[in-house]
């Protein structure tokens, strides 16, 4: 059964139809790629999935339940979390607090409990500290837990953003160009990390990426967007040999 599924999804800005009749389906523990030329509507797709934009038509279902019309934070709480094309960390906040913030909605203690430092506050803060550190360890960031996020090098900022997205316990993780700006070594490392995330956290991953070797090397299923429509889908092999895809990327017939 599909974890995340869209049907006839579309959005128009003014008269411009940025996405049209998009059907995608992501299975459990699947790593899926969303590719396409610049301006094809990939990030718009992410924005629809997380209610940054509201679709003008179609449906989005997470585990069979519609999430259209839910607020962004509710969608995150329901199990879709994302990273951003241009990293959006809480810059003047420590690395570990970046992760703890994403765990906020899983914590229970009240405002008063926080002010008066009740046992519930102590217990939950201790738990969240341990969980956040565990998560940072996966990304080898635990030694920098107390650094300000803005002081991390670029590659580690990307990792921290993924760690923060994982902290919300998602069922589906959306990664918007995770390898952008990384050198080949870092990219290879990232591929391993993504596979490790999938296995360890048992989640599905949908990623946008321009680096074809990255996409082909890691994705089990690939969707190709061009001018707001899905023009092809299939395995890496199928996509590589699809004439429509080649035309879309090389331009013209």
């Amino acid at each position: 059964m599909a974890v995340l599924e869209t049907k006839n999804l579309g959005i128009a800005f003014g008269g411009l139809r940025a996405l049209e009749d998009v059907q995608i389906s992501i299975g459990e523990r699947e790593i899926v790629g969303l590719i396409g030329p610049n301006g094809a509507g990939k990030t718009t797709m992410f924005n629809l999935l997380t209610d940054v934009y509201v679709p003008t038509e179609g449906s989005i279902e997470l585990e069979g339940k519609s999430i259209v019309g839910k607020k962004t934070y509710q969608i995150t709480q329901n199990g879709i979390s994302r990273t951003f094309q241009n990293i959006r960390l809480f810059k003047d906040v420590s690395v570990i607090d970046n992760v703890k913030i994403a765990m906020n909605f899983q914590m229970k203690y009240s405002v008063l409990s926080g002010i008066f430092r009740t046992p519930a506050y102590r217990r939950e803060e201790k738990e969240v500290e341990a969980r956040a550190l565990d998560l940072l360890k996966v990304f080898h960031l635990d030694s920098k837990a107390d650094d300000m996020a803005k002081n991390l090098p670029y590659g580690q900022q990307r990792k921290l953003e993924i760690a923060r997205a994982l902290a919300t316990n998602p069922k589906v993780l959306l990664l918007d160009e995770p390898a952008a700006g990384m050198n080949p070594t870092e990219t290879r490392e990232l591929m391993e990390t993504i596979q490790l995330i999938r296995d360890r956290f048992e989640i599905s991953i949908l990623l946008i990426e321009h680096d074809m070797s990255f996409v082909m090397g890691i994705c089990e299923h690939i969707f190709v967007l061009d001018y707001g429509k899905i023009i092809a889908e299939g395995s890496a092999e199928e996509i590589r040999n699809n004439p429509k895809v080649i035309a879309a990327y090389l331009g013209g017939e």
Partner: protein, 325 residues
């Protein structure tokens, strides 16, 4: 060597108590005369105002231009309560302060709900409008004494009261900021879209922080009213809101320590420089612009004074010394 966590807390408690005892002894011995103890009271009130405004402006990142307006509704509500509730003063005063805070909360919700559901700077303009409008409303309703002001408010604000409430405000807001709720508030300041994507209900937390700030401003208003004894709607004007804002900006947006220091200094300084009073707002405005241009984080940035840190450093030094020996 393991640092005992409770030791810094005890040190802070002892320091605060010592400060209180010293000041009260000086006041009762008349070494600090009533004029100066009045200034001390204003220092404490301004500490409450600055620290609470910092919650909304420094930690949440929303500009609030009507803090004096919230103070004024609190002041009027609290005064009317002590004057007409008929309860003995010893009981009615603390309740009145609470009432002042809660009435400010009500106005905070009325302003905050329309402004904070939206992204953008609507809170700044709505609070600016509120600060101006509330004066008009106070003049228009029958029970506030109108333009002549409200007089005959019992003088119940003692040094002990303001001191304890200032310390409580600092403590509560500090603890709030260091809880999960405070982290959520700071996340919104850092990046509202990312905060929302991290599962934070941003509207709720924006409203929570803003309304908390309004509450303490209301309490401060109640203290002020029962310190001065008369309320004049003109006192809580835009300039007063700006004076509180400048304490926050200068001290450091996001530094409670900075707000406290700036509140103390900027309350005492004008007293010392009375000759310059007509230039005061002009100087303040230049300071505001210059701080934004050259050191937008304010003098202390987000630095907080921490006994724990000092304690750690000292004990580490000692441990190092012992190791060497």
């Amino acid at each position: 060597m393991k640092t005992k966590k409770w030791i810094p807390n005890v040190i802070i408690l002892v320091l605060v108590l010592a400060l209180y005892v010293v000041l009260s002894v000086l006041i009762s011995a008349n070494i600090i005369n009533p004029y100066y103890s009045g200034i001390l009271t204003m220092v404490c009130i301004n500490v409450i105002l600055a620290v609470s405004l910092n919650l909304a402006t420094g930690f949440l990142g929303q500009l609030v231009l009507g803090h004096a307006g919230f103070m004024s509704v609190g002041a009027y509500a609290a005064s009317l309560f002590t004057m007409y509730s008929g309860l003995p003063q010893i009981i009615s005063f603390p309740i009145a302060l609470l009432v002042g805070g809660l009435v400010a909360v009500v106005f905070g919700v009325i302003i905050g709900v329309p402004a904070l559901r939206l992204k953008g700077d609507y809170l700044a303009i709505l609070t600016l409008g509120f600060g101006e409008i509330i004066r008009v409303l106070i003049l228009a309703v029958p029970f506030t004494g109108g333009a002549a002001g409200l007089s005959g408010i019992p003088l119940l604000t003692t040094f002990t009261y303001v001191f304890i409430l200032a310390i409580l405000t600092v403590g509560i807001i500090f603890a709030f900021i260091h809880s999960r709720h405070g982290r959520a508030v700071i996340a919104i300041r850092e990046d509202e879209i990312a905060a929302e994507a991290a599962g934070i209900n941003t509207t709720y937390y924006k409203l929570l922080a803003f309304v908390m700030a309004a509450f303490f401003a209301g309490v401060a208003g109640g203290l002020y009213a029962h310190h001065i004894g008369v309320l004049d709607p003109g006192k809580f004007n835009f300039n007063y809101s700006v004076e509180i804002l400048i304490m926050v900006v200068l001290g450091g947006m996001g530094s409670i320590t900075g707000s406290v220091i700036a509140a103390v200094v900027l309350t005492l300084l004008p007293e010392a420089l009375r000759g310059f009073s007509e230039y005061r707002m002009l100087i303040y405005s230049i300071i505001l612009i210059c701080v934004m241009l050259f050191k937008p984080s304010g003098l202390l940035g987000q630095y907080e004074f921490s006994i724990a840190r000092i304690f750690k450093r000292l004990t580490h030094k000692k441990a190092d010394a012992e190791k060497e020996a």
